[in-house]
Symmetry: C2
Subunit: 426 residues, 2 copies
């Protein structure tokens, strides 16, 4: 078997996959934040472009990828599918391990997949600016890049502590023409309150979301953009799994276990949903494992209930696994996983017993990341290292039991711009 | 034609290529730094492992790659060969442009190729520690990685200004078990002199080399390691061009112009020497273009003469293009190109008229880097961006003249750990 699948454009799908068309039972609908009644699509128009809302409510199995977005994807897609043969050999495991490497995206993570679609949809709707929040910066960078391709300005509210400690992604956003504001900022009512208290307020994702939503609500040509959680985002990320299926066929690899790290749910869902379809429709018995940080365990420690998607309660209430909108996760390095809630569609699969979840402590994920760097030669993002830690455990389990296993996981991003997290002198 | 060559292991050569076997005229020999007479191989034993010296003086055309080194290469090699189709389209050029991407190496640059061989040779010779210098850190990181695989400690003297400003590569070196010392340090006579004057002395590559050579001379189980310039290093880097030839054959691409950036010469020589062989032996008419910074123009502004390879004059004198061993280049971001001299073998090809050189200013190379990021989706190292700037000029020239061109260039490393160089707020 080849160690690398080809990156031939034949692996690029023409359509996204929408899991909702195949689910035996849909999650309960989003609620209006004020009335707590099922929301009307038109209620969302103050925040999101109409074309985005149309995808959010769609029950079509296949959503065509516009030609211009396919063209943009082809800069870096198909992303590589690589066998972790050196990691396998180091572990002495009978398991076969393959990973889809989304870190070759121009911004270094899978976030670019939905950013390109969202920027395209906004440009088609005549939106001049997309506002958004970002923590460590992966999402903001992706939206700034996508905006630069489709003529949409990205206005990014970046949590101040990250803005000051990790300038790398701020620099990337500005390279792509993005406008980056330290949050809390004096430019919005939501931010001003905190800024007046303390101009050096470290900020939080919750406050940054409030700032980004506020400017969208107040300006008719600005819309808000979110990088995870929503059904539409998961539809866009299905390109990862669709490509992986085509590449797996090419090299004759059939995974029986699919693993991804999970925060809001987008990279995990992106890889796994096209495979889950086979469980639902073709009696496949593939297993799915979502890995979250012990410090922010929405699936393993949260409750399945209605909750707000943001701390300020401005966004729709979603039926999801949540730690509560007021939960403040400790400042772990995997900033992309520090979210109190979970994508409703992932929550639904957990409820249906199709997806299992496990939580890992930070020290273990950094050990896994270092082993991956030393064996496979790629420095993973701290988020992606959660998946690696679980892959190692599963591969060692296969060794112990003598049972072969075929594991596919999502290496959702590289860690070069997170290098300070790896500093042993700290 | 496919946009990506395969990364099948069949492209990995079993032997390095040594240009000296095919040169019509060898460069004048290295001289002993004290006697200024042609050096005896045994004179080098105080500094280098004997197995390294054997390769340095070899005139064999092919040098076998040891099995353990091939195994280490296969973690990341063959590296990708990619068509810059989006850059081509943006420029509207009839030129076909392909690049060999060495940035997928675990340490992010081509330096890993020779580091692995040097660490292997040292381990076979029972050397416990390799000492070396590093500026921005690409070379030190590569040697620390290679050392971690072959059980050889890397003791790296890192120029203090880089050590403090760019912690990313220092962190990488430490992750790989390397020992990193700010230079000038109080641990050597060479360093102590400057350290006593000023404990915050910013340092220079010249001082760092002196420190690294001094510890090798004083400790029998420590040898010194150099990341460019020497014939042996160029032999090891030939793996880039040998792979590229195999991949080009696979997809039916035949370059008529090969371009690389140049500092000491290793990435340029690595890609081009296996092609130069065809000019020498098969009447090929391929052209070769070496791109250096205007701020440190050894080929376009230096003199071809004997000079010391280091500032302190501890290493052999080499016949090469040089700006003089006391030349201090301005602090451009492309730290890997800030070297006063040039590999003697590259100097010889320039003298023979086989290689042309051009110098580019820093503002132009950063424009080229940004265009490459926005079109091809890869952030290049500032060094590699020199090659890109020239590729763009050649592609535009092809557009103007209507003449097709087939350009192959070396994207020698990624720029994520150089991100501060891209900061527009500076």
């Amino acid at each position: 078997m080849l160690r690398y699948a080809s990156r031939d454009e034949k692996h690029l799908p023409a359509k996204f996959y929408n899991l909702k068309a195949d689910l035996p039972e849909l999650p309960p609908p989003p609620l209006h934040p004020l009335t707590r009644q099922p929301i009307n699509p038109s209620d969302l128009e103050a925040i999101f472009p109409r074309s985005f809302i149309a995808q959010e409510v769609s029950l079509e199995r296949e959503i065509p990828i516009p030609g211009k977005v396919l063209e943009a994807y082809s800069v870096f897609r198909p992303t590589p599918l690589i066998q972790a043969s050196k990691l396998q050999a180091y572990l002495g495991t009978p398991a076969k391990i393959f990973y889809k490497f989304e870190g070759v995206s121009p911004t270094g993570s899978h976030k670019t997949n939905t950013a390109l679609m969202q920027a395209y949809l906004a440009s088609q709707a005549g939106v001049s600016t997309l506002s958004t929040e970002t923590g460590a910066g992966q999402w903001g960078t992706a939206l700034a890049y996508a905006g630069s391709l489709f003529g949409v300005k990205a206005r990014v509210y970046m949590v101040r502590s990250s803005f000051r400690q990790k300038p790398g992604r701020r620099i990337m956003m500005e390279l792509f023409g993005g406008e980056v504001t330290e949050s809390p900022s004096p430019t919005t009512d939501s931010g001003l309150k905190y800024y007046q208290e303390n101009p050096d307020h470290p900020g939080s994702l919750g406050i940054a979301i409030s700032e980004a939503v506020e400017v969208a609500v107040k300006n008719p040509d600005i819309k808000y953009s979110l990088g995870s959680v929503l059904d539409t985002v998961l539809i866009h990320q299905s390109i990862i799994g669709l490509e992986a299926q085509s590449q797996c066929r090419e090299i004759g690899f059939e995974p029986d276990l699919v693993i991804g790290c999970i925060g809001g749910g987008s990279n995990f869902a992106g890889l796994s949903f096209p495979f889950v379809r086979r469980n639902l429709k073709e009696k496949a018995t593939t297993k799915y494992l979502a890995i979250e940080p012990e410090a922010c365990p929405s699936l393993t420690g949260g409750e399945l209930t209605y909750d707000s998607a943001d701390s300020a309660g401005l966004t729709p209430w979603l039926y999801m696994h949540t730690l509560g909108k007021d939960f403040i996760p400790p400042a772990i390095h995997a900033g992309g996983l520090r979210y109190h809630g979970m994508a409703p569609l992932v929550s639904q699969l957990v409820k249906l017993g199709l997806v299992q979840a496990k939580a890992y402590a930070q020290d273990k994920i950094f050990q896994a990341a270092e082993l991956f760097l030393k064996t496979e030669g790629i420095l993973p993002a701290p988020e992606s290292a959660h998946a690696i830690a679980a892959v190692i455990d599963e591969a060692l389990q296969a060794k112990k039991s003598g049972q072969p296993a075929s594991i596919l996981f999502n290496l959702s991003g590289h860690g070069f711009l997170d290098i300070s997290a790896y500093d042993r002198q700290k």
